[in-house]
């Protein structure tokens, strides 16, 4: 690991002002950052430790929603009674990720900023990577791409977004609250992540020094929810394909539905087209299939990951079936 400065601010304001310089990084649970620093993928010049900031609360909101502090640990959030009761899709997604040990460390804010598991990104000796070294090229496009994305890719990057939590948050239309040198703002999660385009190293809308303080999850009253994750082994494995479904079903008809996919996109993937297909329709397998086809219409497979197109469709269909059953 390289040398760096270490700061330990006591307030959010201090944290934000400490982190405005180039090369600054916030450190929370460390489960992504420490790993990538060890691999020399991340080489921050300043680390700003946010563990002591008062951001670890889960609070119910007057509108029936939930406010989740950025420092709430994944395991605490997954087992929070309100989350289990009202946001099952989030609890399921959190518990399907990583291992018990990592969930105890990883935080809500950190998870929103989780980096890809693309092996070319994670190994500095593995060849060019536009995300790691902008402008050098993408080794995955013609390399080992079994686990790579099929949605939202560009000629510069096909790295998959790895998170489960973010997929559930996307289906729940969470709002991300940010504090930065220019003040406070909030961003809907669907506007938070950027497509790789020709700048795959820029993954979200955060400006230098900006810190995620908390997340608000709108109420999801009377919805049926499910998170389905398909992967190579039963635990501690990233998704080959996953689907989060939040649906309101009335009299066998889908009143409204939100679908997000994981393991297949360069960002948590909201399937608006699939939702449009289903809205107002009976909850039947034929409509589920039409929705799945719509969700994957733009999919662009590479040499080794064509199976993920079909797998993702089936994942969406099954998640819809379970959620609406």
């Amino acid at each position: 690991m390289n040398q760096f400065n270490y700061l330990h601010p006591a307030s959010t304001d201090q944290a934000v002002s400490s982190a405005s310089s180039d090369g600054s990084k916030f450190i929370a649970g460390g489960t992504t950052l420490v790993d990538l620093m060890k691999l020399y993928v991340e080489n921050p010049s300043t680390l700003v430790d946010v563990n002591d900031l008062p951001l670890a609360q889960v609070e119910s909101l007057p509108n029936g929603g939930l406010r989740v502090g950025a420092m709430v640990r994944n395991s605490d959030l997954a087992f929070h009674p309100t989350v289990k009761e009202k946001y099952a899709v989030l609890s399921e997604a959190l518990l399907s990720g990583a291992s018990p040990q990592l969930r105890n460390m990883a935080t809500t804010g950190g998870n929103l900023l989780q980096r890809t598991r693309c092996p070319y990104f994670r190994d500095v000796t593995a060849g060019p990577c536009n995300k790691r070294n902008p402008g050098t090229g993408c080794s995955a496009i013609d390399g080992f791409n079994r686990t790579m994305a099929i949605l939202g890719t560009s000629d510069h990057c096909i790295a998959t977004h790895p998170s489960d939590m973010d997929v559930a948050m996307t289906a729940l239309e969470a709002l991300i609250f940010i504090e930065g040198p220019k003040g406070k703002r909030s961003v809907p999660i669907n506007d938070f992540y950027k497509l790789p385009g020709d700048t795959p190293h820029i993954e979200n809308v955060l400006e230098p020094g900006e810190l995620i303080t908390h997340v608000e999850i709108p109420p999801a009253i009377s919805t049926k929810q499910h998170y389905l994750k398909l992967r190579d082994r039963a635990s501690y494995e990233f998704a080959l394909a996953s689907a989060a479904v939040v649906a309101r079903v009335e009299g066998g008809h889908i009143h409204s539905v939100r679908i997000a996919m994981g393991g297949v996109g360069t960002r948590p993937w909201r399937a608006h087209e699939a939702e449009a297909v289903l809205t107002g329709k009976p909850a039947t397998p034929a409509h589920f299939q039409a929705a799945a086809e719509a969700a994957l219409r733009g999919a662009k497979p590479h040499t080794e990951n064509a199976f993920k197109v079909e797998l993702a469709k089936r994942c969406v269909i099954r998640a819809l079936k379970v959620a609406t059953a």
């Binding site: 398909l230 082994r233 397998p285 034929a286 299939q289 797998l311 269909i317």
Partner: protein, 761 residues
């Protein structure tokens, strides 16, 4: 001496679940693995490795940003002796000298007091190469477009070739009712011991070299160090530290890392510790040999095997290492546990520009057993016969001869094992139920079987050549010590050898301890490999114990009905006479064991362990995932010395076999393991293993310790074919290659299209 006279009912120690000798130290966290050991003034070592698969080294550049004067640097020029690792042949350099033949080949070594500075320093050495075309697969090696090994031999690119003949295959084809052909392939597999390879070395002019490390075979390392340093026997000392898993992965590789650590120690004149991190261990150390096996089989209308023609090819990597002996065992297990009058096997180990493949539990047998046990399924289909029945009709029995014309002198109870396996797994009822339910269920369940043997001990004349010596002594503190070079790495060597000694001496388990695993203190009882420790070394301990009792009776008037107190009192009388109380035994081959290395005929193994395994799977045709849902094992391994440890061997081997079949894929890029992290080379977790049921039949083997045969490797042989047979039963689809990943299953089912009605919650 045989144990026919020993009445199992009177045994007190053998056959009981004694607590693991070193167990308390392990659960307390006090057991000392190599990385737990520190010496004053110790530095840390690291390795600069090749980044290309084949080429000539033109220049080595040291980046000026690194204060190199603080480092010790070792190249091939610093090697005082022979720049080769002593294995079967001496073709593998200790450090590359002018040329590299695989990615991650060691080129130079560096050491520094601060281990945190080493990664950056390694990255700051740049090597210029003239790249040469690389050979990266068996097929490319076979094509001989590039000759990368043995250019001066009659079989270039071939490390070893065997041809086995029995009867006359060519005459059998015409009389066959059916001829069945098939090709089967297996991938590389990583041991994934949780403790990486590691070694500490020290050098002094008086004492020579001492190494401490994680290893299976102290005298293999000893032999290599003698050659690399040109030192006599007594100037090289190898001490095994607690070893955190091995599975064959610490049979050959420790000779390399020990040489490296010792070269640095010699130059730095201080202790050097080298511990690989996971990425380096995965990239640079040995794996299971990938293989391709082709079968052509003639059967009559009743399903009897008439002729078997088998062609085996393994990928040996860049140097010969253990490829010839792995190929030998692959060849000798290729026919499965079946009798056939006409057999021809041709097997070859090919050179490629990849990291040398090495020993891994099963040692070639899992590869060819996968092939034959999948092939039997195809034969059954071709002749329209139940695959269980087809196997039964062709099982070896007492008196039959194998491919090497070895006569089965010991009882063979395959029918009994099969019957029990069918019964405990409820095989037929389940097969019927699954077939019924599969018609309407998109999750298809299936049940599959594999029957197999595993030869115990070294192949052919191997044990005679090893000429092992082992025994016991008695310390002044009143403890019996077991004197062996056989090592503990989780499989239970310490415990079972102590049980054998206690039983043979008529004392308690707690009276016995292991002598330190230190080449200065122990005799060479051979390597800890080949499922030989219980049977061969254990038998030497038993004989030594009996011999000591005999001596005590003659020299110290030990009575027939002696107590523990009498025993130790007699030992002290003997010590007063002889100065020590020690009894050693040297290997003696059982009678009727003959082997011809030229024709590859005779007694391939003194004994075989036998097994029938039943796997049950659920294949989700929606998601393409195949899951093992239940697993039954029935085996005959001679006497079970310790039921807890024995079951633990079977369960662990089955889990590794499940990984081999369905999870573990080594992805090579230019011969470099690309997925060299635990996050992308995945083994089964606690949530992936099915229930594993273990049943033993016991037929004592007259020349094994209290009747024991080998057990350690057997359980890795059966799971992969049993699982793929179950998948065939579940889906009707036949797969011939492992690892079998979801996308492989997908490719078959994708063409069937998707009926969304069938996607169930």
């Amino acid at each position: 001496m045989t144990d026919d006279s020993t009445n199992p009912a009177q045994r007190r120690v053998v056959g009981t679940p004694q607590i693991r000798k070193e167990g308390a130290e392990k659960v307390l966290g006090r057991a000392k693995y190599v990385d737990d050991i520190e010496f004053p003034g110790m530095w840390h070592g690291a390795t600069v490795r090749s980044t290309i698969p084949r080429g000539r080294i033109l220049a080595i550049h040291f980046d000026e940003s690194v204060p190199w004067h603080e480092f010790v640097i070792v190249t091939a020029a610093d090697i005082p002796g022979n720049n080769h690792i002593q294995m079967i042949a001496a073709d593998q350099p200790c450090l590359a000298d002018g040329a590299v033949n695989h990615c991650d080949e060691p080129i130079l070594l560096i050491a520094h007091p601060d281990k945190r500075l080493l990664p950056q320093a390694v990255a700051s050495v740049r090597i210029d190469y003239e790249e040469l075309p690389a050979v990266l697969s068996i097929e490319e090696s076979e094509s001989k477009r590039e000759i990368i090994w043995g250019a001066d031999t009659s079989t270039p690119n071939v490390f070893k070739e065997f041809v086995l003949q029995k009867g006359n295959v060519d005459e059998a084809w015409s009389s066959a009712a059916c001829i069945v052909e098939g090709e089967y392939s297996t991938g590389a597999q990583e041991h994934l011991y949780i403790e990486n390879n590691g070694m500490i070395a020290d050098y002094s002019d008086d004492g020579g070299i001492t190494v401490w490390g994680s290893l299976q075979c102290p005298f293999y390392v000893h032999k290599s160090l003698m050659a690399v340093f040109n030192l006599p026997e007594d100037k090289v000392r190898v001490i095994q530290t607690e070893t955190g898993g091995a599975f064959g992965g610490k049979e050959d590789y420790p000779s390399i890392i020990a040489s490296h650590a010792a070269l640095l120690a010699l130059k730095a004149r201080r202790p050097i510790k080298m511990i690989y991190d996971r990425m380096e261990d995965l990239a640079a150390t040995t794996k299971r040999h990938p293989s391709r096996t082709r079968h052509r089989t003639a059967v009559d209308k009743d399903g009897k095997l008439l002729a078997m023609e088998i062609e085996i090819a393994t990928d040996g990597g860049a140097y010969s290492t253990l490829s010839s002996t792995v190929l030998s065992r692959a060849t000798l297990h290729a026919t499965g546990p079946y009798v056939c009058p006409n057999i021809r096997i041709r097997s070859r180990a090919w050179a490629t520009n990849t990291v040398p493949y090495g020993a891994f539990r099963g040692f070639g047998a899992p590869q060819t057993i996968f092939a034959i046990e999948r092939h039997m399924e195809h034969i059954a289909l071709a002749v329209g016969m139940d695959p269980v029945e087809l196997r039964r009709r062709n099982f070896l029995h007492d008196g039959d001869t194998t491919a090497t014309q070895q006569i089965m002198r010991e009882p063979v109870i395959l029918d009994q094992l099969l019957d029990r396996a069918l019964a405990v797994s409820d095989f037929y009822a389940k097969r019927e139920r699954y077939a019924r339910e599969n018609a309407t269920n998109p999750v298809k369940c299936g049940i599959g079987i594999a029957a197999f043997y595993h030869g115990s001990g070294f192949t052919g004349s191997g044990e005679r050549r090893l000429n092992s010596l082992a025994g016991v002594d008695v310390t002044l503190q009143g403890k019996v010590r077991v004197l062996v070079s056989s090592t503990e790495f989780g499989q239970g060597t310490n415990t079972i050898l102590a049980q054998i000694a206690a039983e043979a001496l008529g004392i308690s388990y707690d009276d016995v301890e292991m002598a330190p695993s230190d080449t200065h203190l122990i005799p060479n009882s051979g390597p800890t490999v080949a499922s030989r420790t219980s049977m061969v070394v254990g038998h030497l301990i038993q004989r030594s114990g009996r011999q000591l009792i005999q001596t005590l009776k003659e020299a110290a008037n030990l009575s027939d009905n002696y107590t523990r107190h009498d025993f130790f009192a007699a030992c002290e009388l003997l010590r007063a006479r002889d100065g020590e109380v020690k009894s050693l035994s040297r290997y003696e081959a059982p009678p009727n064991i003959y082997w011809n290395d030229d024709t590859y005929t005779g007694e391939a193994y003194p004994a075989f362990a036998w097994a029938v395994y039943v796997a049950e799977v659920a294949v989700d045709t929606i998601t393409y995932s195949a899951e093992v849902i239940d697993f039954h094992t029935v085996q005959e391994v001679g006497t079970v010395l310790n039921p807890t440890l024995a079951a633990g061997q079977i369960e662990g081997g089955v889990a590794q076999g499940i990984g081999y079949a369905l999870y573990e894929k080594v992805q090579l890029k230019n011969g470099h393991m690309f997925n060299n992290q635990m996050t992308n080379y995945i083994m089964p977790t606690a949530q992936d293993v099915p229930p594993i049921h273990v049943y033993f039949e016991q037929i004592p083997f007259a020349y094994g310790a209290f009747g024991a045969k080998g057990i350690g490797e057997l359980p890795h042989d059966g799971p992969a074919p049993a699982i793929l047979n179950a998948i065939q039963n579940a889906t009707g689809e036949s797969f011939s290659a492992i690892p079998l990943l979801p996308e492989d299953i997908f490719l078959r089912f994708a063409s069937y299209g998707l009926d969304p009605e069938n996607i169930t919650a």
